[in-house]
Symmetry: C2
Subunit: 179 residues, 2 copies
Amino acid sequence: MNETAEKIMDAAERRVRSGGYGAMSFRDLAAEIGIKSSSVHYHFPTKEALASTLVERYTARLKTYLDDEMASERSTREKLAAFVDYYRKALELDHSICLCVMLGAESIELPVQIKERVQAFYETGERWLEELFEVAGKEDPRTAAAVTLASLSGAMVVASTANDREQFEKTARFLEKLI
Amino acid sequence: MNETAEKIMDAAERRVRSGGYGAMSFRDLAAEIGIKSSSVHYHFPTKEALASTLVERYTARLKTYLDDEMASERSTREKLAAFVDYYRKALELDHSICLCVMLGAESIELPVQIKERVQAFYETGERWLEELFEVAGKEDPRTAAAVTLASLSGAMVVASTANDREQFEKTARFLEKLI
DNA sequence: CAACATCTATCTATCGATAGACAGATTATT
DNA sequence: AATAATCTGTCTATCGATAGATAGATGTTG
């Protein structure tokens, strides 16, 4: 991956995570990194391609984080806390929420490729959680995984709206005690 | 409220709930109900005013629904199920999600007035849930309310992304048994 | 007549995308 | 090694479409 392409993606990720798909424009990205919008098209032919690559990178990062975590010597409880912490860090009040919560909310009218990749992000998280709850001997790992993933996503939306991190933590504390 | 104004709001709500704030344009709304975009401006001077009124109406509807439900003779468990059902109905696969989940996700870059009203929507729901869990003798009503609200919102995002209602129901079933 | 409601016409700003040119680096051919 | 061909990355300039918003004329209704 080219250096310029990465700068573009970094800027694009910030825009989407704060304002959504429509808030990311080639002109703004170009201006931010000091090139012309036509040069952005050189690296990413279409907006769809850019956003799609964005989600791909985002999911790859989650996967790396989760794989490392699963391979670690930490307890299942600590691993669950690590998952919660990943979401905690994704929420920056007044700046950004999780990329896939944003695009997930907007997914109905997004190009299919983007939608599919957002879906893949959620599947990655859900599968990992399910395995964790299974190892921990939870009675219904599938439900626990779904509830955990959903409540973290939703708590982020609520907290971002209220501009109040405590709105997120109320849910986070509950989840960290699920195992 | 004028008849035309209501038609505008109905159309606007559909647009926002499927594509977000940016997907709602005066031209589209006007075309859908057979008037000119300048006439939409007559009823709602700005886009912000329209969206803000939209959230106000949306919250008023929730409040009416919840007040009726709370005043009913149904059990606390049935009342909780009724809350879940409100969200269930708000999710129409491939068509729309909850207005305030969408605007909540996008809230960072939305005009403050809209953001505040989305916040009021969540407060309405959370207060009602808290009271319900209190009546039901739940150990920590505040947490239960937060988790319920968050997980319903998040489950809607996940289910909408996957285009799979079961993704919502996994969480819904869990919540309906919380009391 | 007065108000309410809608119209025509237009403005400025921005959007994603494309065409065509150019300099400089790299690679292939002689 | 020298030259030719190609690739890379950026530029300027422009396209048609769409955005929200406004002024002022026109119609409608009580």
